[in-house]
Symmetry: D2
Subunit: 354 residues, 4 copies
């Protein structure tokens, strides 16, 4: 017997509950919070501020050698709603990773898929299945499910980035496989671009020989300069104060990975965007500018490097005085694939229609 | 601060760990069992035997009125690996539901999707979105995501069935919505068949007006007599001792729901089937016959009504002296949609290739 | 030079036109009817009446041995708009095939896909890839692209059916391959059903081992009794006087073949159906009852066994005094796949919007 | 009666044939070349040489005003196998279009989809649904099904390009709709790029607001500089002497249109490529370099601007002494969608397997 033992109000009932527990059974009729009218939002709205996190990352850099454990010097965002587990939302881990000058985070691979959004420092290199990708702030780098990856910092300065993985989901699903890898040879002086970009970085031009067998984008890096140009063009063409782009698989279309959706959003000075509610959770990171985010009952004043959580079914609104660019990554593709995506526009009140 | 506080080996490190916890951060390098070489199999191999469960269900029927809570008289299989939570696997709940003569389990709907596999008693009726479906042993009834459903037992005998829902997944994803419903009028004397069957129960003949908007099968019941006939035909045509069929969406093809896969398997007397390993979990229920199931290091002698769990990445083998028919439901579609399905054939040893 | 030589109005222009023809070039500006405002309807509305065709088929049966040519005794519907080519529409051939008692139409296969709709005589057998399918009036039999097929009439009476193939399309596309086959051994006394039906004829029950590799339905025969039951049920449930079902692939969903769509339509006595216009063509055959079909400017009084053509973009309307069941096959899947399907509802006037 | 009247060998048979013709029927058994062992290749291998075609285009430019007819000054490639019809293959028209300084080809739209591959002259502009696209040699411009398009030459020099349309297919399918359009206002001085490129020209970055409703690429122009860079990179990375890229829809993946596939191929000096056989036809145009093409029994020595046809099921081989870049457009997506694609590798002999 390893299950919950419920108490009955009279001896006969109590005897039944005892025998049920003995048989590893539980009465449904005594369960609470299983069948909730709306999701109870296990993770809570929360914001990690760069001014708090970066100095801690710097202290960790000085105190903790990279080979200390887990192969990575990573500060994991621990959502206060997750009961002490080091996850940012119900499905995702998020973290700040820091590499000092000359440091190398060695090669490994795992079934949890990761994205990196570069926040500080230019010239570090991530190798994805051996392809060396130089990174600068604003870039998005993918290390999809089961791809080898390692990080090198050949520069004289520290580099900092945001890591987001579908880790809580993959662990929950009992689907985590991990393998430490042979380190690639040092990629040498920072190259000018990756094979991935040279092959798949020209819009609409695809090698006939294809894109490899993975169920993910073969383009492993998306440059901020490209994102910036498209956002600019969209805002140039309309009267609105909000523009957004989605990072997509240039060969198959759709999201960059089966489990994660990445987008960039730009608000003009004085602009606002109201996203209403949706099932699934997301991380939002300010790249430039500033703003005020309302998530459920919480309000966060956000600056560059700050990251906040929008839990499932929480209303979310952004506004900005000076203008802002944000990067966001969420689990929407998972919800769509499983028929569990439900959206409610900002002004739809409390109706729970789909 | 609501996160885990790690201890450092020296004052400086311990100070860092304290400050990290204060900032709702955790060091990755002190985490254990995040990046496991293979899934740790949170749920464990386990078997609930009809001879234990049915009498407890009968006691519950006599002691617990159906309106007692949760609208259902359901004994939930509580996997000993799930830490006291009433779930059968990482993604699914499973249970025995019992209805006495004349009882009605009232209408409700929820985003968790359910299947029912009828084990005992003929003539109860499930209404799915108002469509009355009479049930007999061996039938599979679907109550997909957000469909209204209620159960009536107009007969003189108790009825028992297996319930399986994607409940652990939907709760984990913070995607549970629930709504109590208006009861349908009593469907009256047991009809001879459902609208769903009359419209979608003739193979390959589909109303041009379509199948409703849901992302699930519009055929809400699959009769054992059909399953039996196809299994018979397959085994009649080959020398093998194992045949299997998948329950599918007759309009769109593929699985009956986005999150669950249902199959029936028949082993001839003296037959065996070795399924190797796969990510994702499944429930197996004996409908007729008997057998011995090996799941990981556990061995279960199984008879009609017995249900056992195959957790993620556990080797699974079945053999039978007298022959057996089994019903199984698992979460394979979820793993396939998310790019997390990994299989290893029975004789592939410990290699972890995909 | 093998092209059209246009005439110029003056010597210089005429010289150019001569030199163009010499170079196998043509001036676009002298082409007529290339860029038409709406499709010119190459094939025309037309009806072949059973009372004319069946006696001719009977004469052919007596005069022409089956081995005479083409392996089949087939009277091809030659649409008067097709310039003497033996095609019923721009994409399809249609025909009446007749087999006398004891006759066999030998095995062959081709890339053109065919359907058979049985009109007269019970008990003939078509073998599709070796699977013997007994046929009775109202049944639909598929012999998809590159499947071996042969027809046996072991009965004492003649059998007659409608053949429709995507032959005009396949020939036009230069995609016709043909191979004469080894005859299958005589299937012996008429079996009670085909392997195809036993494996794929139970709605929603599919062998896990799959459905073969072809891009077509693995169910090779659809029984009229099934069609009849579903049409009945639809009409029983609504106040309308028109019901329709589509024949579909029970494993993958969608049409039975990539190039052809089959449907059955039932009109109650006194009922009517107005189909408006669509690109693509279709054959309509009366199975029981009678009616009046308006196709473009033509009107046809139709009885059992009569078959008429609805050419591309022709308005089509059906009405009946006594009620009618009709079978129809058209090329809609081809138009949908190529982005060329355009529909106009009955009352939309002459606007050419999509 | 409007069909072919066959002759019988004896009076009775001849009477039957007369009566069949009278009833618009034809005997299958007298048809020839319907069921061919392999496609008879209606269109034939053929090459139009720039040195012949360009001077004729120049003569047409001087003699024929653009408003003369059809809105376009276009010399259509008339395949000698097409019986005088102005089509290049069974499914496609191909042509050279010429615009003199200051000329405008006015706006229209049609359901036939077109591609333009620019051969001579820089700075002309095509407006696609109002989006002005400046063109230089090597660029590919799309004017998909039912998009408005017009061409302006604001420069001082003539411009020449290759037009290819799915015109033979669309006409054959009775699916041609055409509408003359309101001319757009003059786009003014040549812009530096199109809206289409600014929105969809950054690989993997897609506006969240989407790509319009059409079943085609929202990127209307593909620049040769991009094609060149990717071809270079592929050849730089391998020992082979042949590289190829496919033009694709950057939002949905797959081909640029449902009916046409575009690719670019590069052969190193001394290189060769053997394509074997496939159903479906293609046009090949030399952009730079030279080579020798073998198509069936024909051999063509080709130079820049030369275009040749590869008919369905014709073996095709290319070799080059000096190296070559070629552009090709074919109807492969049509054949794949309809289940009619069949390929045979170069060394597979005469076997007709799929």
């Amino acid at each position: 017997m390893a299950t919950t033992r419920f108490q009955g109000e009279n001896p006969e009932l109590d005897g039944l509950y005892g025998d049920l527990a003995e048989a590893d059974l539980q009465p449904l009729w005594l369960q609470e919070r299983l069948l909730t009218a709306a999701p109870p939002q296990r993770s809570v709205p929360f914001c990690w501020k760069a001014k708090d996190v970066y100095p801690l990352a710097e202290r960790a850099r000085r105190l903790v050698p990279i080979e200390r454990g887990g192969d990575r010097r990573v500060l994991m965002f621990s959502n206060p709603g997750m009961g002490g587990w080091c996850m940012a939302t119900s499905t995702m881990s998020a973290a700040i990773q820091i590499l000092g000058p000359g440091e190398i985070a060695p090669a490994h691979r795992h079934t949890a898929a990761a994205i990196r959004f570069i926040l500080e420092g230019s010239g570090a290199v991530t190798l994805v299945d051996g392809d060396a990708i130089p990174m600068i702030p604003g870039d998005l780098v993918l290390t999809p499910n089961w791809t080898w990856h390692e990080h090198h910092n050949p520069t004289d300065e520290r580099v900092l980035w945001l890591d987001v993985l579908d880790l809580a989901l993959v662990i929950w699903l009992d689907a985590m496989f991990f393998e430490p890898g042979p380190d690639a040879p040092d990629p040498g002086p920072s190259p000018s671009g990756s094979t991935s970009e040279r092959r798949f970085g020209r819009s609409g031009i695809v090698p006939v020989s294809g894109a490899g067998g993975g169920a993910y984008s073969p383009l492993f890096v998306y440059r901020w300069s490209d994102v910036d140009a498209v956002l600019d063009d969209i805002l140039g063409g309309i009267a609105a104060h909000h523009a957004s782009v989605r990072y997509s698989d240039p060969v198959r279309g759709g999201d960059v990975m089966p489990t994660l959706r990445c987008e960039a959003h730009r608000l003009r000075p004085g602009g606002a965007a109201d996203f209403g509610r949706a099932t699934g959770s997301a991380m939002w990171t300010v790249f430039t500018g500033e703003g005020v985010a309302s998530v459920g009952d919480s309000t966060f004043e956000v600056e560059p490097g700050d990251t906040y959580v929008v839990p499932s079914w929480c209303p979310h609104r952004l506004e900005t005085a000076a203008g802002a660019d944000l990067f966001t990554v969420g689990d929407a593709p998972t919800f769509e694939a499983l028929g569990l995506m439900r959206r409610r526009p900002p002004d739809a009140g409390e109706r729970s229609e789909r």
